[in-house]
């Protein structure tokens, strides 16, 4: 192929190329959405505030969740410790518990802390001692209901693993831990009140 032939070939190729479509419609076009988002963000203060508001709300929700968790777990630890500090059985610490403790975690991101775990173990140890005083039926009833709470805790934790920032789930989880402690302490309290009172 001489130079002239080469030039002719190039011209034909260019002409064929020009006959092709100038743009190709993709199967799933993302641009309209991206364009709309850019357009919205450039609409002025209201649109900016909306975008800002959405992210602010998200940060606010996350901040609320953190405050809830820190405050809540501290509160729970206090709840577990208060009232039991003077009554913790020295035997309790060594007891192997038949009531398996569920993982005390907030979804995948948070834990309740070692203080809470220690306090909870103490309350649980005392419960085991108190349960021995009850009839087999009453004992079974208490164990079944604590299991109910623990199942709920596990269920909420599972949901939290999917949505770690969900404030509703955080609140319900805290309440459930609180309820678990309350039930354990209630059983301890009632049996103590009735059977071990020295004042009467």
């Amino acid at each position: 192929m001489n130079d002239r032939d080469r030039e002719q070939f190039d011209d034909e190729l260019t002409a064929k190329a020009r006959e092709l479509a100038g743009d190709v419609e993709p199967e799933r076009d993302l641009w309209p959405g991206i364009h709309a988002a850019i357009h919205e963000s450039m609409q002025g203060p209201a649109a900016t505030a909306s975008v800002f508001g959405a992210s602010f709300q998200r940060y606010l929700a996350q901040a609320a969740a953190v405050i809830l968790l820190v405050g809540g777990s501290s509160g729970l630890t206090y709840l577990a410790i208060s009232g039991d500090r003077d009554n913790v059985s020295p035997v309790a610490a060594g007891i192997e518990l038949p009531l398996d403790a569920v993982s005390a975690s907030f979804g995948s991101q948070y834990t309740l802390g070692p203080d809470f775990q220690d306090a909870r173990r103490n309350v649980e140890g005392r419960l085991e001692t108190e349960l021995e005083r009850l009839s087999p039926e009453a004992r079974a009833e208490v164990e079944a209901n604590i299991e109910t709470i623990r199942t709920a805790i596990a269920e909420i934790n599972k949901a939290l693993a999917e949505e770690p920032d969900n404030v509703l789930l955080q609140q319900l989880l805290l309440s459930s831990y609180q309820e678990e402690l309350a039930v354990m302490r209630k059983v301890n309290g009632i049996t103590n009140t009735v059977m071990l009172r020295d004042d009467i």
Partner: protein, 296 residues
């Protein structure tokens, strides 16, 4: 050894062998303050308490075999009634007590597997039982009742008071109350009806709850459950801001506004609206429990 000496020896021997044995039916009375405190403890059996007009505590007891002692003592404004049993054998010893107290007395009652029934006592009541039922009335003085597996039934007379009721698996029924109420349960159901509250807090894990009462303007109603259903039916008009959220339950609202999804990808729903002037506040949270919100 003559006959009278043998009899005396036999009597002494029996007294030494069974020092704790006492008669089955016992009646005791002590004078009491008109508005003092009466503490009562009976591990198993039943406890019936009624208020009367005399300044006296009267105890009629049918004591079970093995009871060590029935203690009925007064110490100033306090009267103590206790069925004393050996700590290790208490489960098999059941005693029934019928007690009358001055009607303005406060009472503090405890039992393990003992049913408690109270009538016509106007003072404060603190009632604790593991597996027995509690049935009582209130007349404006605070009531705190807690049980593990027993049911709790409380009837008030619409006077202002603080009511605290908690059970683990027992049901709670509270009627004709006014003021403040806290009711909690794990698997027991809670029904609160024919009442009016400035503040009400109701929690369950699996138990269902029914709240058919008036929420006084400026009041607060907090309800929380994991898996229980919630039926709120206000008596009369209500003026409140509603903040309702469920992770996986349904919401039916007779007031009009519909619940909205909290996220495109998660099952949560929330419902926020104001009814009337929004003077009170209603907060309801559930995980899976369904919710119905209405008014009469």
């Amino acid at each position: 050894m003559n006959r009278s000496t043998r009899t005396l020896n036999l009597t002494l021997a029996l007294a030494l062998v069974a020092p704790a044995a006492i008669a089955d039916d016992v009646q005791r009375s002590v004078d009491a303050s008109p508005n003092g405190n009466v503490s009562i403890s009976n591990v198993a059996g039943s406890i019936e308490i009624s208020g009367w007009s005399r300044n006296q505590v009267d105890v009629a007891a049918d004591l079970g075999d093995g009871v060590e002692e029935l203690i009925v003592e007064r110490n100033g404004d306090d009267v103590i009634v206790k069925v004393k049993v050996p700590r290790k054998k208490h489960r098999d010893i059941s005693s029934d007590l019928v007690i009358r107290v001055p009607e303005q007395s406060s009472i503090d009652v405890g039992g393990v597997s003992a049913d408690i029934e109270i009538d016509n006592v106007y003072g404060e009541q603190r009632l604790h039982v593991v597996s027995g039922d509690i049935v009582t009335q209130a007349f404006g003085a605070d009531v705190k009742a807690e049980s593990v597996s027993g049911d709790i039934e409380l009837d008030g007379d619409n006077r202002e008071m603080l009511t605290q009721l908690s059970s683990v698996s027992g049901d709670i029924d509270a009627m004709q109350l006014r003021g403040e109420i806290e009711a909690t349960s794990v698997s027991g159901d809670i029904v609160i009806a024919d009442s009016a509250f400035e503040r009400a807090q109701v929690n369950t894990v699996n138990g269902d709850m029914v709240f058919r009462a008036q929420l006084i303007d400026g009041g607060k109603l907090d309800i929380e459950t994991i898996n229980g259903s919630v039926d709120v039916d206000f008596d009369g008009d209500v003026s409140a801001r509603f903040d309702i959220e469920t992770f996986n339950g349904s919401i039916r609202n007779c007031f009009g506004p519909k619940a909205e999804r909290t996220s495109k990808y998660a099952p949560g729903r929330e419902l926020k609206f104001t009814e009337g002037g929004g003077a009170s506040r209603v907060t309801i949270r559930t995980l899976n429990g369904s919710l119905t919100l209405c008014k009469d």
